[in-house]
Each structure stands twice: as structure tokens, then as C-alpha cells.
């Protein structure tokens, strides 16, 4: 597909990187020459200098011939204008990033009248991801597949846990629900385990299960079923507001600590139920007074990744039962490894995935196209969802008879709404969505890539 991306910021760059890797023709527009030069050197894309919402720039970028325009600049108005113009020029689909919560309410209206195919808000998506982590605090990470029918969760096995010393083949006897352990991180080494594998305390595992079985699984596996009641949020970014709204709606008490008095007033006006504290969240006295040691969960949403990491570690040390840090720079993520109570949410990653899912759905390849991709186990493994289509090989063949490439596991199949945790007798049928787990170094672009060449 021919794709034009207006705005070469964090999200724009990550989208360009992934889309050009997926063999799309990508053109990037920005009004900062330095970032364009960087993209041109590092990625196989074309760059156009100028304002993405101007006719001249869009003509230069050949938007009229493009299949898709993604407007991802930091200004909502420019994004919407860019998309309008692109539609007028004849671009087939447009996606706009709309960040301002005030516009958020009219998104649906905007979409229809302006001919937008999709709008995305990194803040809203990040807030929702954090909310889900807080819903299931015992998991380090949750990723959903097949329209949220399947969950891939990460958890650590603590000493004395019900999972300690369990052979995978006997997992069903204690869990009482169908689960599949698809990835194990033992002392930093990732492996895809087989049935005879014995779990040990200290392992970090990644498990697939049907979403409706999650609660049962938590109960049966005796994973601490902490229920989050009180949440403290630091920082006053738009994510804070979205998250506070969602939390309050599900009757969680929210306390927000932020520097900026104006923002505090604004937040308090928008979300009257929340307790808003204006002060320095790095001030130990203040934090103790506000009860950091007694909260169930602590969420660090300041503008700086480093601050978020330090704050969430500090909260964990002070006694918060769960802490979440908002971190976009992936090189910082390994720092939080080994802290069982700390989760990381990356708005950039979530947003990019959301847009990619849409793009992939537009561009279906014959051999079973990719729908979703999540990087799991701190980026050392990947979970990919494919849709089996006409050209997919080996359909209707029992899994036991399939010859797969090494380090590849079919972890879940959804057939017409039914979630199947696959056994040897199951098979892939047309239209199924198939979740595959693999180590990060193997490159899969369609479902057929998992099979060994004959």
C-alpha cells in the first residue's frame, strides 16, 4: 500500500518504521528537517518537508495516489485538516490522531462527517491499558487478541506459589481451566516450553487463556486476588484524566498528585470525584502524608520516562501493592525487570499497535495476514495474531501432523467465536484467528511463514 504519514514524532516514526518493514511504500511529511533526515537515513522511506495540512506539501507527497494518510502530528486541528484535504485529493482512507479530550466526545461525529476511517488518541488508549492492568493487578502485562476474546498475560512465579514445581502437562489439574504456557523467561533466557517442562519459582511466564476464564484462573491458581480500591496517580497529563474517569466509573478511589496548579484546578473541575493534590510528588513528606504506603496501586504518569521508573520503584518500596510506570523509550524497560509489582505501559507502543491493526486489516495478504502483534517478555518474544484465509497452507490438518519452524508455538485458535486452546487433534480452519508465539528474532509476516518449507 502507498501510505503517507504526516508528523514524524515518536508515534509517526514508530509507524513509519514498522510499516516500511512490512513492505509498504511510506512517505513521511514533517516540518522539521532534522528529524526527516534521521528517518531518511535509518528507514527505507521517502521524506517531504513541509506542513502536512498544506495542499502544496500533500501534492509533493503524492497524497492523491495514496491508499492511506495517517495524520500523527501533535496538533489535532492540523491532523483533522490534513485528513480532510487528503480525502478531497482522493486519498482512499485517512486516520487522524485526536488527542484533546474535549474533541474526544465528538469523535464519532467527526469520523462520519469528515470521512475519517479511524481516529486514535494515544492518551485514551494508554489510559485504558493501564486500567486493564489495574483490573488484574497480579499480571505484569495483559495483551488481548481476537477482539478481546483471548488474553495473553505475563506473571512471575513467586516461591510457594501453586505453580512452583508444576509440570506443564498437569497444569489443567490445578487450574481447572484451559491454559497454555507459551513462553518462559528463566534467568533472562527465553524458551518456548514443551509438555514436560517443570515450572520453578523465579520464572516469568506468559500464558494464554480465554478472557472469560481469567477470573477462574486467578482463583484456582491461588494468584493473590488483590482488588484495587485506592489508586494514586502522579502527573497531570491527559492520560491522568482518562484513567481517573475510567477508574471512578468502576468505583475506585482516585488521588491525583501534580505540580501545576492550573492543571490541578482543571482536573478537579472535570473530575470532581477525584482528590487532587497540588504539590511535588518527589517530596517524601507529602507522599507519606497522602498515604503512598497504603494505596493499592500507584501510577506514574509524569512527562519523563526516567521519573516514572524511579517513582514507581519508590512507591513499590514504600508499600504500594502494585505500581505502573508509563515508559515510551524501550531501552529503559529492562531496568524494571525483576520487580514483580511493577508493570510498564507504553502509550507509543499501544497506539502504534492500534493503528497497525487497522492498516493490516485493510491490506490482507493471501497467505493469512497478520492482524495484531504484541511484543511480550520485555521484547524478547512476540505474540502475533493471524487470520487464516484462502491461501493458508495446511488447513484442516491436525496440529500434531504439522511441521512448524523451531521456536514457534500455536498458542490459541479462535473459531467462529469459540476460543480453542489447541490440543494435538485441533486444526486450523479457514477464517480462524490464530495466535502464534515466537522468539523475537524470527520474522513472520504471514501465517504461512510458521510452517517449515517442504
Amino acid at each position: 500500500m502507498k501510505i503517507v504519514i504526516a508528523g514524524n514524532g515518536k508515534v509517526g516514526y514508530a509507524l513509519a518504521e514498522q510499516l516500511s518493514r512490512e513492505e509498504h511504500d511510506v512517505t513521511v511529511i514533517d516540518n522539521n528537517e532534522d528529524v526527516l533526515e534521521r528517518s531518511e537515513e535509518l528507514l527505507d522511506v521517502m521524506t517531504v518537508y513541509g506542513n502536512g495540512a498544506s495542499l502544496e506539501t500533500q501534492t509533493l507527497a503524492n497524497v492523491s495516489e495514496a491508499d492511506l494518510l495517517i495524520a500523527a502530528t501533535s496538533a489535532d486541528e492540523i491532523n483533522i485538516l490534513s485528513c480532510l484535504l487528503a480525502r478531497k485529493l482522493g486519498c482512499k482512507q485517512t486516520i487522524a490522531r485526536v488527542r484533546n479530550p474535549e474533541y474526544g466526545a465528538q469523535l464519532q461525529f467527526l469520523k462520519d462527517d469528515l470521512g475519517l476511517s479511524m481516529t486514535f488518541s494515544p492518551d485514551r488508549s494508554a489510559a485504558h491499558a493501564i486500567f486493564r492492568v489495574l483490573q488484574f493487578p497480579s499480571f505484569l502485562k495483559l495483551d488481548s487478541f481476537a477482539r478481546s476474546r483471548i488474553e495473553l498475560v505475563e506473571l512471575s512465579i513467586t516461591p510457594g506459589s501453586a505453580l512452583d514445581g508444576i509440570v506443564l502437562d498437569h497444569l489443567y489439574e490445578i487450574a481447572k481451566v484451559k491454559l497454555l504456557v507459551c513462553c518462559v523467561d528463566r534467568a533472562g533466557i527465553i524458551s518456548i516450553p514443551r509438555g514436560g517442562f517443570v515450572l520453578k519459582s523465579g520464572d516469568k511466564i506468559s500464558v494464554t487463556a480465554a478472557t472469560r476464564d481469567l477470573a477462574k484462573m486467578i482463583r484456582n491458581l491461588d494468584i493473590s486476588s488483590l482488588k484495587i480500591k485506592n489508586v494514586m496517580i502522579c502527573g497531570s497529563s491527559p492520560v491522568t484524566e482518562y484513567l481517573a474517569e475510567e477508574l471512578i466509573e468502576s468505583r475506585v478511589n482516585v488521588k491525583i498528585v501534580a505540580h501545576n496548579l492550573e492543571r490541578c484546578k482543571q482536573i478537579s473541575e472535570n473530575i470532581p470525584q477525584a482528590i487532587v493534590i497540588c504539590g511535588d510528588y518527589k517530596d517524601e513528606k507529602l507522599m507519606l502524608t497522602e498515604g503512598i504506603s497504603k494505596v493499592d496501586a500507584y501510577v506514574a504518569l509524569t512527562d519523563y520516562d526516567e521519573d516514572n521508573i524511579v517513582l514507581s520503584l519508590y512507591a513499590g518500596r514504600m508499600g504500594a501493592k502494585k505500581s505502573v510506570a508509563c515508559v515510551d523509550r524501550s531501552e529503559l524497560i529492562p531496568i524494571l525487570q525483576g520487580w514483580n509489582t511493577s508493570s510498564i505501559v507504553s502509550p507509543k507502543h499501544i497506539t502504534v499497535n492500534e493503528v497497525l491493526r487497522f492498516v493490516r486489516a485493510l491490506d490482507k495478504s493471501a497467505g493469512g495476514s497478520m492482524i495484531t502483534m504484541h511484543s511480550i517478555m520485555d521484547g524478547k518474544a512476540e505474540a502475533l495474531e493471524f487470520e487464516a484465509s484462502e491461501g493458508t497452507k495446511h488447513m484442516d490438518v491436525p496440529l500434531a501432523k504439522l511441521r512448524l519452524k523451531p521456536n514457534i508455538l500455536i498458542s490459541c485458535i479462535t473459531h467462529g467465536g469459540d476460543v480453542i486452546i489447541p490440543k494435538e487433534s485441533d486444526c486450523i480452519r479457514k477464517g480462524d484467528s490464530v495466535v502464534v508465539v515466537t522468539k523475537a528474532d524470527s520474522v513472520l509476516s504471514e501465517l504461512n511463514d510458521i510452517f517449515l518449507a517442504e
Binding site: K2, T27, M46, V443
Partner: protein, 484 residues
Amino acid sequence: MNIRAIVFYIGYILRLEALMLLPSIGIALYRHEMSCVVAFLIAFAVLMIVGQGMVMLKPNDRSIRAKEGFVIVALGWIFMSVFGCLPFILSGYIPNFVDALFETTSGFTTTGATILTDVEVLPRSLLYWRSFTHWVGGMGVLVFMLAIVPSSKGSGDSLHILHAESPGPVVGKLVPKMRFTARILYAIYIVLTVIEIILLVAGGMPFFDSLIHAFGTAGTGGFSNMNLSVAAYNNVYFEIVIGVFMALFGVNFTIYHCALVGDFKSVFRNEELRLYFLILVCAILAITINILPLYGNSFFTSLRYSFFQVSSIMTTTGFSTADFSEWPEFSRLLLIALMIIGACAGSTGGGIKVSRLLILGKSAMHTLRKLSHPQSVSVLRIDGRKIGDNVLSSVNGFLVIYLGICAASIVIVSLDNLDTATTISAVFACLNNIGPGLNVVGPLGNYNVFSGLSKVVLIFDMLLGRLEIFPIVMLFSPMTWRRL
């Protein structure tokens, strides 16, 4: 410095060069040129073995940065020239290594300077190889490699190679994917070459000669299979076809792409193109008037020779229909000036390029304005787009190093004690990839008179000129090889 990746890419280039020998082997077999068959086969085997050996050392990390890009291009061209001269040596037609290297480098760099006193005695297969190097060198072997190698997905690494091999101050892509950019460039190149071959054959030129001259024109090289070059045919039609095509190959290939996709606005508004044709037309008229007395005051005869020669020299091709060495001093100097200016950026021609001239001229105008209005602020624009300070400073740097190399080469070549016009024009003709110069190295002369040292200097000048100085200079700069 990712040395293993460099070795890998050079191995790949050598393997490609081996494949390029195949047509010559075919011709040699067809015409029973047995000494050439053996020579080509040995060269083929050597290239295949060395190339394959280098490719087999597969690097784990194929990523290259600007530095590696320059080194790959510089070393690739040196290796290609060294291995490419094997057929000349092994067949015994040019037994001396330096001479054979001179001839091959002159071929690949599309210079067209020769050390042979009589090219007509060469067998067909060698003549073909000699001219085919022009065609390959014109657009560049590495660009060809980019067109066919499945690069690491989505990475922009290959841009460094395009930057280093393609001429001009600013090199950009035509389409988002590097592979397709390279393919489009080659497609335009092939189509133009084929059209020229057809036109020449239609006019009655023998097929083999048409191939040779089309290769010489396309790469803006200038090797002919005739001692007298194009003058040997004394045919106005051939001169018009070749003359027009030389001018066409001196145009930025981006222009053709714009025209193909129907963007005629950018074609007509292109400032470099307009300046290029302006210089071309002015020079043709000036020389026509200047040489009128030589050709019995016949305007059309003068125009005929002047048009062909100006087109040939400005695009740095070097075909000749007249011995311009004998022309009046004004015409001779004008031609030398055209040699230095050269063709458009992004074409197959050499020289310092019209676009650099344009940038320098505009920057000079800005300096003048600044003198009268010291507080004035202005932005350099070409085709309505801003030219950044980094481009301007790289153009300035280019010019300074260019002048330095010119001066140094002239001093070394002057050791041979030939006349000033010969010495200076030889250096200019090699550094700007033209071929023939004035007097001893004029259209009817050759470079055999120079000593081995001068030939080596001129070989480097040709490479420096074709690769636009920086890659070769980078190769020998200690900074490139330092770890940090």
C-alpha cells in the same frame, strides 16, 4: 567500521562484474577470437571465485552507515577496475598492467581517455568489453546492486550507497522504496539506450558500431571503435542522433521520472535544467561564430561541428567529429570551461555539475546583497525549495578539495615536461571524465605519452571525478578507519 559488511558488498559487486563479462565471452566465441576467449574465461573464473569467497563470509550484521557506504563505493570501484583490466592483459593486447588499468578505469569512470594508438586492431570482444564498462559505470554498479539485492527490510542503509555513488550535491529517492528507485533509474537508462541503438541502426550504422556508440553515449564515456571516433562516419544523421542523446544523458534522470508520471510543471520549472540548456545553447552559438573562418564561413558546417563538440564536452562524453585541438584559442578555452562545469546532477555525466554552479552562484549573490544590506536575512532556494547550510558547506568543501586535487595533479603530471595546454587539459579531461583534451591528448591523440606515475595520478583523478571526490578521499582518510 563494519568491515565484514564491506567485504560482503564488494564480493557481491565482483560477482556482478563476472556476469557482465558473459556477453564478451559470447562475442569472442562467436567470432573465434581464441586468445580473448581464454582471457575472458580466466577473468570470469577469478572474479567468481574471489567474489563468491567474499560473499561467503556472511556478516551477521549487514547494517552500514555513511562511512561504510563511502568505503564500499570507493573500494568497489577500485576492485572493479583492477579485475576488469584482466582481459586486456591476458589477451596480450595491453600487456602493461598500468596501461590496462588506465584503459579499464577510463571505461568504468566513463572518461573515455585511451592509451591505445590504434583501437581498430582490437578484437570485437575486447572492444565490446571496453565500451560496456562505460555503460555499467554510467549509472553505477552499486545502484544496479540496489535494484536487485533484497536489502534488509525497511532499513534506510542503502541510501548511503546511493549518496556515495550518484553524482550531485543532493541525492534523493524518486519513490519511497530504494529498490524501486534504483529500478526506475535503470529502466529509464536502458530504454534511452535502446532507443538510441534503434535510431543508429535505422540510419545505417552497423549493429556492432551502434552498440559501441550507444554505450559510449549512455554512460557519457566516449570510447569508439574507430580511431577517428564519430568523425570516421562523416554522417550528419549519426552526429545529430549521438549529439542529441549525449545532451539527453547529461540531464538529471529525476526529470525523466517527473515527465513519466506527468509532472511537467517540475520539468519546466527545474532551474538546473534551464541553466544547463542555456549554457549549452550559448556555447554552441559562440563557438559556431568563432570557428566560422575555419569551415569556409559556412554557418551550417560550423554549427554541425560546434553542436556535436559542445554537447560531447559539456556532458563529459568525449566523442569527436572535429579536431577541436586545432580550433581558435577562444573555442579551446570555452571547451575547457565546459569540461569543468560538466553535466547535471543525477545524470551519467561528470564535472562539478550545473547544480553546484547554481548553488555557488546564488550564494555569491547573497553575499553581495549582504554587503549592501549587512542586516539582511535570506534563504537559498532552488526550485522553490530551501537549500540547507549543510548542503552549501558540502558544496564549498567539494570545490576546495576539487581545486586542491587539480593543482596537485597538474604539478605531478607536469614532471613529464609536456606543454602547458596538454598537461592542464589532460588533468581536466580525466578529473571531469571527458577523455580527450588538447594538443597531444587531443581528439586524435592519446595518453600513451605519459609516464607510469602520471598515468597512476590520472587513474586516481578519473575515480575521484566519477565518485565526486569524497568516497576516494574518505578511503584514504585516517579518520574513517579510527574506531571512535
